[in-house]
Symmetry: C2
Subunit: 351 residues, 2 copies
């Protein structure tokens, strides 16, 4: 148990969410405040923990949480104007009132965009057991993006050897893993991304069979026909809109679409319409949305699968690390113009 008596408050730099956003988020929708303070001891009687934040995760889904709450969306955990952004990160325990955590433990899960956080909600907080990998990996390949790729691919896509797999936003935190999982299984894998640099990465670093820059393709239907002359068995959907419409035209009979995210739509007041849903019927396609929270029970199995692959170099992971809490707003906003190359992380402190 924590002991009281130490009342020293220290400065706690924070990234504050200013107000609800419509359209593209801007850096000015957030600001860095140095007015906050925190006591590095757990309050008497609390079962909370005080942590020092090391790495913070920039996630596309955060955009949805910046919208003014809509009564229809019970599934979104909205941000609150005037408070620090909260999200996933890696942190070190400085003091603990919780039996499962002790000083010095490393954890990953829900924390705040600030130097130090008092965590009292443990629904999404895991103790890090394997530290022979970069700690930042727990915001990515060993964290929710990794579990998202694993659950989405193996549980939703019903993949089998030889399947033709297409992945949009393929160089992102989730896409790069799905592609590598599919390659390991013996699939033919094509990814789309938004720059030549990313396309090169997909082909050379992540060993996709093919990749293309969607910004340079005036006719996505023709593009997909070029890469999938026999059609697509599995589409791992990260973007939505026009890409989904083109994919629907190119799916094979009994194809599967795993809907993981629709990043092209998050900043639109009204999402684009998708017109080709008739092809769901023509081709008996199963399109299934999923959220990683339904796959937490698979996390131990996932680590057992992925840690040896990392150790043997069979799966590689690319991060884009922005230095300093101050870089948080630009790093987060950059996701939506595709500035990041690989998983976007904010480094708050090395240890």
């Amino acid at each position: 148990m924590a002991s009281g008596g130490d009342d020293e408050q220290i400065r706690n730099k924070q990234v504050i969410f200013k107000d609800y956003v419509s359209g593209f988020p801007k850096e000015s929708d957030m600001y860095v405040s140095t007015k906050g303070t925190i006591r590095l001891k757990v309050p008497d009687g609390s079962n909370g923990i005080v942590v020092k934040n090391l790495y913070l995760s920039c996630d596309p889904y955060t955009r949805n949480r910046m919208t003014k709450p809509d009564t229809g969306n019970y599934y979104v955990n909205y941000l609150k104007p005037g408070l620090p952004i909260n999200g996933l990160g890696v942190a070190k325990v400085l003091d603990s009132g919780h039996p499962n955590f002790k000083k010095g433990d490393l954890v990953w899960g829900n924390t705040g965009w600030e130097e130090y956080s008092l965590i009292t909600d443990f629904q999404l907080l895991f103790k890090i057991q394997h530290s022979n990998v970069p700690l930042s990996y727990y915001t990515g390949i060993l964290g929710l993006p990794g579990l998202t790729a694993y659950g989405g691919f193996y549980e939703v896509c019903s993949p089998k050897k030889g399947d033709n797999v297409f992945i949009s936003a393929a160089s992102g935190a989730v896409g790069q893993l799905v592609g590598q999982f599919a390659k390991l299984l013996g699939c033919y894998v094509v990814g789309s991304a938004g720059s030549k640099e990313k396309v090169d990465l997909l082909k050379n670093k992540f060993k996709f069979n093919e990749a293309f820059n969607y910004k340079e393709e005036p006719d996505l239907d023709a593009t997909l026909k070029r890469y999938f002359s026999e059609g697509i068995d599995i589409y791992f959907e990260n973007v939505g809109g026009k890409m989904l419409d083109a994919v629907l035209l190119n799916m094979r009979a009994h194809g599967r679409i795993a809907a993981c995210g629709l990043i092209s739509q998050y900043n639109l007041d009204k999402p684009e319409g998708v017109h080709n849903l008739m092809h769901l019927i023509y081709k008996r396609i199963r399109m299934e949305g999923f959220v990683v929270f339904d796959y937490f029970h698979l996390y131990p199995k996932f680590l057992e699968f992925v840690l040896p692959q990392i150790a043997e170099g069979k799966i590689v992971y690319l991060e884009d690390i922005a230095e300093g809490l101050e870089s948080g707003p630009s790093a987060l906003v950059g996701l939506f113009s595709g500035l990041n190359v690989g998983k976007q992380v904010v480094l708050v402190a090395r240890e």
Copy 2:
């Protein structure tokens, strides 16, 4: 085997498909011809059968087959201008060169919109074994609409007792059955239709819990919230467009959408856009298209299930029978303005 020698040609009235259609089909897209003739004997050496057509089925899907063939749509069996419409029906065998069929047999399956047909493709032709039900039922409850409802509901919707089920175009050939299957299983069932008469049928004849006239509902989202305060578990999709968008807002977590047809979209040059697909992710919805051809192996099991229910009056079926081959064009066109009440059938001959 058929014997040759009888060369008498008799008149064979036919409904001819005039030319490819865009927009709503009109009666004038077809015409009745009395110029055709047929010989009521199977040609020497053929394994075909000659039948007298009794009942013809009017199916929404025929609209798709009237469009000019699009290279993208490998799954549509297009109609050919200048030839009789072909489709499903009930017929009586007059002469047979096929070992599985003999004179006097009753069959259902692919035939032509004409008085007599020479059938040489047996991929979709079944001998009728149970004749203690109206023969016209083999165009509906005991034919493809019945198997569609059975396969779509039990194989795609993963239904369970207590589920909240919504069915669009609910008084149609398929919808009326899905609703009754769901009621038998102990679900709460609501249907939409396009007239007061149909709404009354859904509530009084088919025993749906609730039903509404979508044409009188200015805000479908509000309508669905009124009938499904706890959300929808299963949506049996027959219409698409605005209804699908409203349903997506009202699905429950882990809901299932079986996409059977999108009749509201068939007559549009460009289908309406569907905007709320994000809810597939928020609520982890599985949306799956299906076609009845994948469920042919279930047909014997389906008959075993449904025949006793019909005999005991636990499942009722409503047909809208137009008299005479000449009424074919208007009966078919009427589907798209919702003129039919129940399964639309054309009676060509009683026996």
